[in-house]
């Protein structure tokens, strides 16, 4: 089982906070890899909130191709972090040329474009770079989005973090999502590594997704170019979240109604029963059926956690105003925020979604039995 850890903090924190939480939860993962999403960045990126940041791993040849492509598209580098790694990587970590984190200035001709259009173009560029990299095996592109950095690598999380010197000032962020294992269901592939990211939405998941194939099939047939990839069965959780928000225009309260709808008998008693029934019927292929804990992040910086219908996975949220952490194990939370009122820790149950808003004041619990803020 994967180990998941996420934190949202008013003060920027080092990525090592998440890595150390993973280290404490080590018993439950095999140290085969790490995925780390940084958001609401501080330091040099504080001033570059609108500049898309490209995160990925490149060979020297790949970098040249990237530069040529980005130049053609009219992107200028605004800021970059160069991670210079020792020539010989530690055992279990592959040798790489360049771990790239680079913020770009948008092309001049993009000025005046609608936000939606910019978001669409950024996604298409990421997909294009990914396709180019897969063709020549010289680039791996994780994200291309403002205020978001994604780092993924094979190997023990702590070893990788030391190798990449993640404890550097420029990488401090107010939101971290970290996952401590390579997937085991399919072959090891960095594109199969959590957290997954699409247009501001990110999730990471515990547990196998038993309904993967029908869900993937449904998403792929929506005709949206971003619903692709699927090296891991967990990637669909991110895309369902994206679909729920961007296509259906629904809030995080509705996400659980899409992936784990109420059974018919309970649904009948809900104040919005007819609407929910319609949603359940039309989103039937998006119902997840496995034992899953999903921790994710929305474009506005909210963090959330939902459990499967039967609540077969652990998952806890705790902290204090200004600092909250989500963890698949309590020991991870204890390691990250030892000074907190533990009696206020929340373990969301089968009907609940736990949300910490961008203000980071409290953990908000919404139940599937609550009335919904319906779009008018």
């Amino acid at each position: 089982m994967c180990r998941l850890f996420a934190v949202t903090s008013r003060e920027p924190v080092s990525p090592m906070m998440a890595i150390q939480a993973l280290e404490v939860m080590r018993e439950g993962h095999d140290g085969s890899g790490v995925g780390l999403l940084l958001r609401d960045l501080s330091g040099p990126f504080e001033e570059l909130k609108d500049a898309p940041i490209l995160s990925g791993i490149f060979s020297d040849a790949g970098l040249k191709r990237l530069d040529a492509t980005m130049m053609d598209l009219g992107f200028m580098t605004k800021y970059k972090i160069s991670i210079k790694v020792p020539k010989t990587p530690p055992p279990g970590v592959p040798r790489r040329d360049i771990y790239l984190i680079r913020a770009y200035e948008l092309p001049e001709e993009w000025e005046g474009l609608a936000r939606e259009e910019i978001e669409d173009r950024l996604m298409r560029i990421r997909l294009r770079l990914r396709a180019m990299g897969e063709e020549s095996q010289d680039m791996i592109v994780f994200s291309f989005w403002p205020d978001v950095i994604l780092i993924k690598e094979i190997g023990d999380p702590l070893t990788v973090a030391r190798h990449l010197q993640l404890d550097r000032k420029e990488l401090r962020a107010r939101i971290l999502l970290a996952q401590g294992r390579q997937n085991t269901n399919y072959s090891i592939d960095l594109y199969a590594c959590h957290p997954f990211f699409l247009q501001g939405f990110a999730t990471m998941t515990n547990g196998e997704n038993t309904a993967f194939v029908p869900i993937r099939t449904f998403l792929e047939s929506r005709g949206f170019p971003g619903y692709t990839g699927y090296r891991s069965d967990s990637e669909v959780f991110t895309h369902i979240l994206h679909y729920t928000h961007k296509v259906l225009g629904l809030g995080i309260e509705a996400y659980k109604h899409v992936i784990t709808p109420l059974p018919d008998e309970e649904l009948a008693e809900h104040p919005h029963a007819p609407w929910l029934r319609r949603l359940k019927q039309s989103c039937r292929p998006l119902i997840i059926d496995g034992p899953n804990c999903v921790i994710g992040c929305l474009p506005d910086g909210s963090l959330f956690l939902v459990q499967d219908r039967k609540k077969l996975r652990p998952g806890v949220v705790g902290g204090r105003p200004g600092l909250f952490a989500f963890s698949s194990e309590i020991c991870g939370l204890d390691a990250a925020i030892p000074l907190r009122d533990k009696s206020r820790d929340v373990q969301p149950m089968n009907l609940e979604t736990a949300v910490v808003d961008p203000e980071r004041r409290e953990v908000r619990l919404c139940s599937q039995k609550d009335p919904l803020p319906l779009p008018h």
């Binding site: 085991t184 269901n185 547990g207 196998e208 038993t210 309904a211 993967f212 194939v213 029908p214 099939t217 449904f218 047939s221 929506r222 005709g223 679909y243 296509v247 259906l248 225009g249 629904l250 784990t260 059974p263 018919d264 007819p274 609407w275 319609r278 949603l279 019927q281 039309s282 989103c283 039937r284 292929p285 119902i287 059926d289 496995g290 034992p291 219908r309 039967k310 077969l312 779009p375 008018h376």
Partner: protein
């Protein structure tokens, strides 16, 4: 055989028949029950002459012979009276003195059952044992990758949808704008397929309806039953139980005068309207109810004179083009109930199914598509149609589902699979395989004849005389002397037993796959088969 007796081309010996009657003179009580029960009069009481030799002890004396007569059972060899192997004689014999045995080589009867130029007609289904569905295995077992589910303990919701499901964006928009949302029924994924009142005896029909009502009212299982093309009894039309019934309209429109006139008095809307364009057992043929089954009750319900054979035309009379026919029928039927009832066509399995499907995807009123494969059953059809016409269901359903996937409509237009599900008794496994290939639900008929009423028919051509109204179990007969053998409550009890057992087996299949809260429609990664060609055709895993 005496030399002067003529041997006609169709003169057969007992050996030439498919079934030979073994009769024990020792055990026979001469009670006559076997000859009375035989539906085709294949056996008759006979007097046999036998000469006994009694050699004298005195070697010099001539041997004396005496001739005695004894009574016994003789099997008739006239092709019109050939034994059908139903073994009712054995069932009623107090001493099990009689038993039909299958011949050890291909029979010669098959060459002689077209006398008068009338090709063989029969009931049952394709006389080919086995089904490809039985070869499909469920190979994706969650064990250590995830905690497995417990079929007996965990919460399950194995329901399906019948009706046009709007895509999520449109569903929410229609909801917001109070637009028309097509009716959708949440039903159990096992539907009792169309078998008409007329093809079935009143006791059988009532037993099925009673069982369905019990499943719904007492067990909360929303099982639905199609009427077949024969109308619906007036009291059922005017009862609240109509919501469990799918009314079928086919090319003969039998019973629809009665149904349409009952609409103002209906207490509940029917579950759905099924427009039958074809039947898997006899593609291109309409329904056929022989005159000797059309008694006064049947005639009244169907709105026809009694005693007249009722062949439905092979095609709907309104049919001019697919667009016109299907669209007009669907819209007319929808309009009759104020567009509150899903309307969907049923076709026989065919290589042209995708043309029908594509047409339906463009018709916002179409509520689904039922495809009936070559192994479907029937009460009466030409033998050649049953044995040689039609398309297997597995590839048809798979192609249809993958076509919907390409259009992004796999959740919008439910597919119903029928024809040979549970043919060898593996009802739940066959149903689950079809669901994972892409069906939203399955329709069964023949299985319930066998399981709920003890039908003796088989794919090795046993019995299969549903067409002549002489069903020895009273399932497909309109003769009260025959159908009183079938107790309505017993049939209902067996229907309930079968569906409840099916439900448990379905859970035992989906739980280890890690599925419980939604029906695994299209979960083809769970399927494997031991033949590379089948695997390639169905786009599932090849496993050995």
């Amino acid at each position: 055989m005496q030399s002067e007796r003529p041997i006609a081309p169709s003169t057969l010996s007992v050996k030439d028949l498919p079934w030979q009657i073994a009769w024990s003179r020792e055990a026979c009580t001469l009670c006559g029950r076997c000859t009375a029960v035989c539906p085709v009069q294949a056996i008759e009481l006979a007097v046999f002459r036998k000469r006994l030799l009694e050699p004298p002890a005195d070697l010099g004396a001539a041997t004396a012979g005496v001739t005695r007569a004894y009574y016994g059972i003789r099997q008739r060899t006239d092709p019109a009276y050939a034994c059908i192997g139903c073994a009712m004689c054995n069932l009623v014999c107090p001493n099990h003195a009689i038993l039909p045995l299958r011949t050890d080589e291909a029979d010669k009867l098959r060459f002689h059952i077209d006398r008068g130029g009338q090709p063989r007609r029969r009931g049952g289904r394709r006389n080919v044992p086995g089904t490809v569905l039985d070869r499909i295995k469920f190979i994706r077992i969650s064990m250590l990758t995830d905690p497995a589910l417990d079929a007996g303990r965990h919460e399950f919701e194995l329901r399906t949808l019948l009706g046009r499901v709007l895509p999520p964006e449109a569903a929410l928009r229609h909801e917001r704008e109070h637009g028309w949302v097509p009716p959708v029924r949440e039903i159990y994924p096992l539907v009792i397929g169309g078998m008409s009142f007329g093809a079935l005896s009143p006791n059988m029909w009532e037993g099925l309806q009673l069982g369905v009502a019990y499943l719904n009212e007492e067990l909360g299982m929303p099982v639905r039953i199609s009427t077949g093309e024969g109308g619906c009894p007036p009291r059922l039309l005017r009862s609240r139980f109509l919501e469990y019934v799918i009314l079928q309209i086919a090319s003969g429109y039998f019973g629809w005068d009665e149904i349409l006139h009952a609409i103002p008095e209906m207490k509940a809307d029917p579950c759905a309207i099924e427009i039958k364009y074809g039947q898997g057992a006899k593609p291109g043929d309409g329904g056929l109810l022989m005159g000797h089954k059309v008694n006064r009750l049947i005639a009244a319900i169907r709105g026809v004179p009694p005693g007249v054979s009722l062949p439905s035309p092979p095609t709907h009379q309104t049919q001019y083009s697919i667009e016109e026919s299907v669209a007009k029928m669907i819209q007319s039927m929808g309009m009759a109930w104020g567009f509150r009832v899903p309307v969907y066509p049923k076709i026989s399995g065919t290589s042209t199914a995708l043309a029908v499907l594509n047409n339906l995807t463009r018709n916002p009123y179409a509520a689904g598509l039922a495809i009936d494969g070559e192994d479907g059953g029937t009460g009466a059809a030409y033998h050649v149609s049953m044995n040689h016409m039609g398309h297997p269901i597995a590839a048809n359903i798979r192609d249809a589902y993958l076509t919907l996937v390409r259009l992004g409509m796999q959740n919008e237009l439910p597919l119903f699979a029928a024809g040979g599900i549970g043919k060898t008794g593996n009802l739940a496994a066959n149903a689950a395989a079809l669901i994972m290939l892409g069906a939203s639900a399955v329709q069964v008929g023949k299985y319930l004849m066998q399981a709920a009423a003890g039908c003796l028919g088989s794919e090795t051509d046993r019995c299969n005389i549903c067409n002549i109204g002489l069903c020895p179990k009273g399932i497909t007969s309109q003769d009260p002397r025959l159908y009183r053998r079938l107790d309505v409550d017993d049939v209902a009890q067996r229907v309930v037993d079968c569906v409840v057992a099916f439900d448990t087996e379905l859970k035992k299949i989906v739980a280890p796959l890690g599925r419980s809260t939604s029906l695994p429609i299209g979960m083809s990664d769970a399927l494997g088969v031991d033949d590379p060609h089948i695997a390639e055709r169905l786009k599932i895993a090849y496993v050995v």
